[in-house]
Structure formats: structure tokens, C-alpha cells
């Protein structure tokens, strides 16, 4: 019984972890290139969630198709934010960019609240289930998982094989050197920021395929905190490290529940949360560059 439950939880955790990972890749990308911690991360996930919500409820568009739309919206937002705000702060102390991303996140939340209200919404999209014996997996979650993996793979290909990706890697390695070699560093920064935001917004859509309810302007905060843990797990500067970090995080968050539930007199769920943060501290102590050897 316990073993069955554990296995079921682990499978669910794996599936969820893929989505978490995909949603966090943007954060790591932005940090890796610009050394900026996007504290407003959750707000962009919220934008993705609203995109999926509105496209489905208003236009009847399937969330899978919402993904490219979200990416485009994210790219647009990312470029806008970079050129209006972040560009001036690239050389500024960390604190300034931290506050700036916070301010942007806050602005997004408040604007969405003014336009759409603070109601909690969701959408109902049902396409069947997969009964795995130890647990039941709705197809929407499976789609989300597959989509996340696809996004991660595409990012990998872009990062490693394209010219833009190469330019990015050169800037990460040595910005001055890259500039001397003729790379437009500012353009690389802008592009990385935009793609990072694009990935985050897209991650929001994937997340709603997993959790299609509870969508509201302030939903992002929880995800920002999780994203930090995941990003560190995977190596703060590595975008696809974040994907694997997400997997580990999902598995531990869900899997540990069954084990913690065997302890008397505690609330296992809250403890799984505490566990994930303790995990964070341990990783930072032992291996700050993350669990995975990806660059």
C-alpha cells in the first residue's frame, strides 16, 4: 500500500516536475546571461496563465495552441521591459535590477487586477485520462509534460546549434571578448531577456494545463519561490539544468509526502515544503553550481 502510493506520487511528481522545470528555464537563462535575478518571475507565469485562460474561454482555442501565442507575448514583453528598464541597469549594483524586476512584476499584477479583477478563474478542458494502476493521469497533464520536454529540447538545440545561441554563449563566457569579436552584446542581452521571459510566459500556459484553476493576478508569488529552489538545484546559470532541477524538485515534493505522512503528529504537506527549502540550503552549501553538469 505504501509502496504503491509512493510510486504513484513519484510518477505524478515526475510529470509535474517537467512542467516546473520548463517554467523555470527562463529564470536561469536570464540569470546566466545578464546576472539578473528576475524577482518578478511569478508575474510572468501569471501572464501565461491568463493567456491560456482567455484564449480558451473567449475564443475556444486549445491550450496547446496557446503555447506559441504565449511565447510571442512573452518575447514582446521581454523586449519591452529590457529596452525600457533593464538596459540601464546592466552595470548597476545587483540591488537595483532586483528592485526593478520586482517593480515590473508588481506593475503586471496590478494592471491585470485592474483589467480582469481579482476573481479566481479556471477553464475546463477535458480530454480523457490514463489509468496507470498506482495512479490516474489526466491527458492534459500528459500533454503538459510532453510539451515541457519539447520546449527544453528546442531550447537546447537553439542554444547549442544556432548562431544566436553561439553568440549568447560567447557573451556568457566573456562579454568584453565577445564585443571585440564583433558580437552586439546589448542585442544579445535583449534577446536573452526576451527569450527568458518568453519561456516563462509559455511555462505559465503549460502550468495551467496541469492546474487549470485558481488563476488570479496574484498567483505568481508561490511559483517565484519554487523557481528559485529549482533554478539553484539545476545550477542557477544553466537553463536546461533548470529543467532537470524541476524534475528532481517535483519528485521530492510529491514523493516525500508519503514518507513524511508516516510520522505522527505532524502536517506532512507543510513539511514537504520545508524539506524543499532545506534541500536548497544543502545544495548551496555542497554544490552551489547545481546538481547537474551542464553549462
Amino acid at each position: 500500500m505504501l509502496g504503491e502510493q509512493l510510486l504513484g506520487n513519484l510518477i505524478q511528481g515526475l510529470v509535474l516536475g517537467c512542467v516546473y522545470g520548463a517554467a523555470t528555464m527562463g529564470l536561469s537563462l536570464i540569470f546566466g546571461v545578464l546576472r539578473v535575478v528576475n524577482v518578478g518571475h511569478g508575474a510572468f507565469i501569471m501572464v501565461g496563465a491568463f493567456t491560456a485562460l482567455l484564449l480558451f474561454n473567449v475564443f475556444g482555442i486549445n491550450p496547446i495552441l496557446a503555447v506559441p501565442v504565449a511565447l510571442l507575448i512573452g518575447l514582446g514583453l521581454g523586449f519591452a521591459v529590457y529596452y525600457l528598464v533593464m538596459q540601464r541597469l546592466v552595470q548597476a549594483p545587483e540591488l537595483a535590477s532586483l528592485l526593478a524586476t520586482f517593480g515590473v512584476g508588481l506593475l503586471l499584477e496590478e494592471t491585470v487586477k485592474q483589467v480582469f479583477g481579482s476573481e479566481f478563474r479556471g477553464y475546463y478542458w477535458s480530454v480523457g485520462q490514463l489509468d496507470l494502476g498506482v495512479t490516474v493521469l489526466p491527458m492534459t497533464k500528459l500533454y503538459a509534460c510532453v510539451g515541457s520536454v519539447l520546449v527544453a529540447v528546442l531550447l537546447y538545440i537553439w542554444h547549442r546549434k544556432t548562431r544566436a545561441g553561439r553568440a549568447l554563449r560567447s557573451v556568457v563566457e566573456d562579454a568584453e571578448g565577445a564585443r571585440v569579436c564583433g558580437v552586439n552584446v546589448n542585442w544579445v542581452y535583449a534577446m536573452s531577456f526576451a527569450i527568458g521571459i518568453g519561456l516563462t510566459v509559455l511555462g505559465g500556459v503549460l502550468l495551467t494545463m496541469f492546474i487549470p484553476v485558481g488563476i488570479n493576478p496574484y498567483m505568481g508569488g508561490v511559483y517565484t519561490l519554487k523557481a528559485f529552489v529549482i533554478a539553484v538545484l539545476g545550477g542557477l546559470a544553466s537553463p536546461y539544468g533548470a529543467f532537470f532541477g524541476g524534475l528532481v524538485f517535483g519528485i521530492i515534493e510529491n514523493g516525500s509526502y508519503t514518507l513524511l505522512a508516516t510520522i505522527e503528529g505532524v502536517e506532512p504537506f507543510a513539511l514537504t515544503r520545508a524539506l524543499s527549502f532545506i534541500m536548497l540550503l544543502v545544495i548551496l552549501l555542497i554544490r552551489p553550481t547545481g546538481l547537474f553538469k551542464t553549462k
Binding site: E110, G122, V213, E253, R273
Partner: protein
């Protein structure tokens, strides 16, 4: 980077400060010519949704008092009721300063507490210091009333009673149902519901097969629900707030967990619930302080021997929509906040004065009925007269299934399975 003329920068700062200083003081009021009720509302921040509802309900009630009731009668004269509010942003630091401003600068005659037990407690000391009636319209913690505050008067019902009616209902129609699963949010309010439910369930002879909580802001209930599924409960009671309520229902469907009854607090009775979940929400129940469709009316009040005050249900709804300027339906947060205002007006009129001690005493003695239901507080200010209703979604409509005196339809028991519900597509 563009350099702004430093002189202009400083001129901007100085004019901003000057503007703030000028907005400060409000001219003092002469003799009593109106009754002012003050509110440190939660119009933004984490309680924004409930706060907005409360705001609409209060404004609707105030408008009714002024337009239909003619104002508040004191000493033979009718005086207008004014509503003054500031946004506490759901933060405890702002509550005390805003409440004091309402008391000392705006010279309010009574206060409405901000939403949530915590914030209600945060402001209670200020109300006590100035000896002003402090209307609790959003704090359901029983503990507020064991602290010895003298001016707090509650309109919302205490947490411990939320699910007791549900258990009574199930026991009556299905004595063979024995296994109850409790899964609530780990927050002070939801825990008080859980403790009340557990005690009552055990008294009724139910068997608690599962009892767990989940943290606030949970994004995935799968592990908890998987464990719940294994215990094969007949009845599932739980919830916490809006988003986790929606998640709960949705993930029960995802994991194919069928129970004979599911009752979720806070979330299930709101229209947004069905909008988010679609047919998956059919059959799901929730306890509520008030639901559109309850049959409280002057006739009922007469039958119960209680005085009646306030708008009819439909009047309230239209006043509410007008107050917010939006076409949204009021939920129980709006209703109870509105009822708090009505209680205050009755208290003032019965005491024939705005003196806080007299009004507080009048409120203690008061019992009445309004569109919200009956109202009566005990000597600590805790609400004891207001019964909860149980609402169930049936084919996209909310039906009041209990108590018998208020119901608009019969309960659908057992609840349809998720397989049945999704086939409907």
C-alpha cells in the same frame, strides 16, 4: 541616459510632499448632523477579492439606508449615513494607522474591521483604546471573542460551525454513511472549521478515516488526495480559500476519486467555482453564510417574531452591482458586510444615540432578521444567531439544500461520479 534638470527633480519632490501635507487635515465637524462609519478595507493585496465584495456590500447597505430607510433616526431626526474607507492593502501595519485616522480625523461613529481574523485582531486594540464599536465582518476565529475585547461585534459566523450543518444533513439522509475524510488548508480559519467538524462528526458517530491539512498557497494536492483516495471515504469535507477549493475539486476529478458527498468551504459556493470547473463541480456542496435564493423576508421575520430591516434580496443585489459599477454577483462576504451595517443602524436607532457604549449595549440586546438571515450576538460579541446554509451545484445552478426552512431544492445524494459528469460533454 537622459539627465533631468536637478532643479526640476527637486521641485517635483517638494510639490509631491506639499501635496501630501495639504491632503492631510480634514476640517472638524460641528454638531451631529450625520452618522459616519469608517472602514480600513482590503481593496488590494492578498484579501482583495473578499475585500472588494465586502466594500460593495457595505456601500449597497449604506445606500439603502439613505435612500429607502431615509437615513438613521436619532432623537426624532433622520440623518444621512456616510461611508468612509481607506485601503489597508491587506497589511497589518496599515490597519492601525488608518483606523486611527478614521477615528480622530474623520470622526467616525463606528468602525468596520478589515477582512480576516488576523487583521481584525490587529485593529482591535485601537478600537478598544478609543472605545468605538468595531464591527467584525470578516474574521471568523472563535478566539477573537475569548480575548476580552469590549467593542467587537461579529456578523460573520464562527469557523467551528461551518461544517456541522453539513454533517447533520448527511446523517439525516444516509445513516449508513460512516467514513469521513477531513482535508483542510493549514490556516487558522480552516483549522477551526476542521476542529469543529471533527468534534461534531465524532458526536454523530462518524468515523474519521483521514485527517490532513495542506499548506496555504498549495499548487498541487495530488499526494494528499492520493492518500485520501486509499481510505475510500463516504464523505469528504475540506477546503480553505478560493484557489485551493477549485484545485481540490479539479484534482479529485483528475485522480478519479468519487465520494458520496464533497463539501468545500469558501470556494464552492461562488459562481466563479462553476465557471472554472464546469460540469466537474456538479454535486459539490459548500456551506455558506448567505446565498442568493435564501428565503428571508419580512414575512419570515414576522413568523419568527423578529424585527426586519434592510433591502430585499433582489434589491441588495442591484444595489451591490450599482455600488461596484460592475455586473458581478454578490457573495456572502458582501452580504455579511452589508448586514453588519444594518445591525449598526438598528443598534443606533434602538439606543437613540451614537454614543459607543450605548450602541454596544443595544447591539448586545439586539436580535433581528434581514436579507442575510437572523442575527444575534452573545455577551462577548460573538455571532450566535446566524445559521449557515448548505448549497449544492446542480446542473450549473446553486441550490440551497439545507436547512429545511431555507431550502430551494432537494439534495442530490450521492453526488454523481466524475466519470458520469465528464461523459456529459
Amino acid at each position: 541616459m537622459m539627465r533631468i534638470n536637478p532643479v526640476r527633480k527637486w521641485l517635483g519632490v517638494i510639490s509631491l510632499v506639499a501635496g501630501m501635507v495639504l491632503a492631510w487635515h480634514v476640517p472638524a465637524r460641528a454638531a451631529l448632523d450625520k452618522v459616519v462609519i469608517g472602514h480600513s478595507a482590503c481593496l488590494s493585496g492578498k484579501y482583495a477579492k473578499a475585500g472588494e465584495q465586502a466594500f460593495g456590500g457595505i456601500q449597497a447597505a449604506v445606500n439603502w439606508v439613505n435612500e429607502s430607510h431615509g437615513g438613521v433616526s436619532i432623537g426624532g431626526k433622520k440623518m444621512p449615513l456616510e461611508y468612509k474607507y481607506y485601503d489597508a492593502e491587506s497589511k497589518k501595519e496599515s490597519v492601525t494607522s488608518l483606523l486611527e485616522r478614521l477615528i480622530t480625523t474623520d470622526k467616525v461613529n463606528a468602525l468596520l474591521a478589515p477582512y480576516s481574523s488576523g487583521l481584525t485582531l490587529a485593529g482591535a486594540s485601537v478600537a478598544e483604546k478609543y472605545g468605538i464599536v468595531y464591527l467584525d465582518q470578516g474574521g471568523a476565529s472563535d478566539k477573537i471573542f475569548t480575548q476580552g475585547f469590549e467593542y467587537v461585534v461579529q456578523t460573520i459566523g464562527p469557523g467551528s460551525k461551518y461544517h456541522t450543518g453539513t454533517l447533520d444533513l448527511i446523517k439525516a439522509i444516509d445513516p449508513k454513511a460512516t467514513k469521513v475524510a477531513l482535508a483542510y488548508e493549514d490556516s487558522e480559519f480552516a483549522r477551526s472549521v476542521m476542529d469543529g467538524a471533527k468534534e461534531h462528526a465524532q458526536k454523530l458517530g462518524f468515523d474519521i478515516v483521514f485527517q490532513r491539512t495542506y499548506p496555504t498557497g498549495v499548487t498541487d494536492l495530488t499526494p494528499l488526495l492520493s492518500a485520501l483516495k486509499a481510505t475510500k471515504p463516504d464523505i469528504v469535507l475540506g477546503g480553505g480559500h478560493f484557489e485551493d477549493g477549485q484545485l481540490f475539486n479539479r484534482q479529485m476529478a483528475d485522480l478519479d476519486i468519487d465520494a458520496k458527498a464533497l463539501s468545500l468551504i469558501a470556494a464552492a459556493t461562488l459562481p466563479a467555482f462553476y465557471e472554472a470547473l464546469g460540469p466537474l463541480a456538479d454535486g459539490v456542496m459548500g456551506p455558506s453564510h448567505w446565498e442568493y435564493g435564501v428565503t428571508f423576508s419580512p414575512v419570515r421575520a414576522n413568523q419568527a417574531g423578529l424585527p426586519w430591516i434592510g433591502p430585499s434580496q433582489d434589491e441588495f443585489v442591484s444595489l451591490f452591482k450599482a455600488a461596484l459599477g460592475k455586473d458581478i454577483v454578490p457573495d456572502y462576504h458582501a452580504a455579511e458586510a452589508g448586514a453588519a451595517v444594518l445591525a449598526l443602524v438598528m443598534g443606533i436607532e434602538n439606543a437613540d444615540s451614537v454614543d459607543s457604549d450605548k450602541v454596544r449595549k443595544a447591539l448586545g440586546d439586539l436580535t433581528f432578521m434581514s436579507f442575510y438571515g437572523s442575527w444575534d450576538v452573545d455577551e462577548t460579541g460573538k455571532q450566535i444567531g446566524h445559521p449557515m446554509v448548505n448549497v449544492q451545484w446542480q446542473n450549473g445552478k446553486r441550490v440551497i439544500v439545507a436547512p429545511a426552512a431555507a431550502k430551494t431544492g432537494d439534495i442530490q445524494y450521492p453526488m454523481p461520479t466524475f466519470a458520469e459528469k465528464t461523459v456529459k460533454e
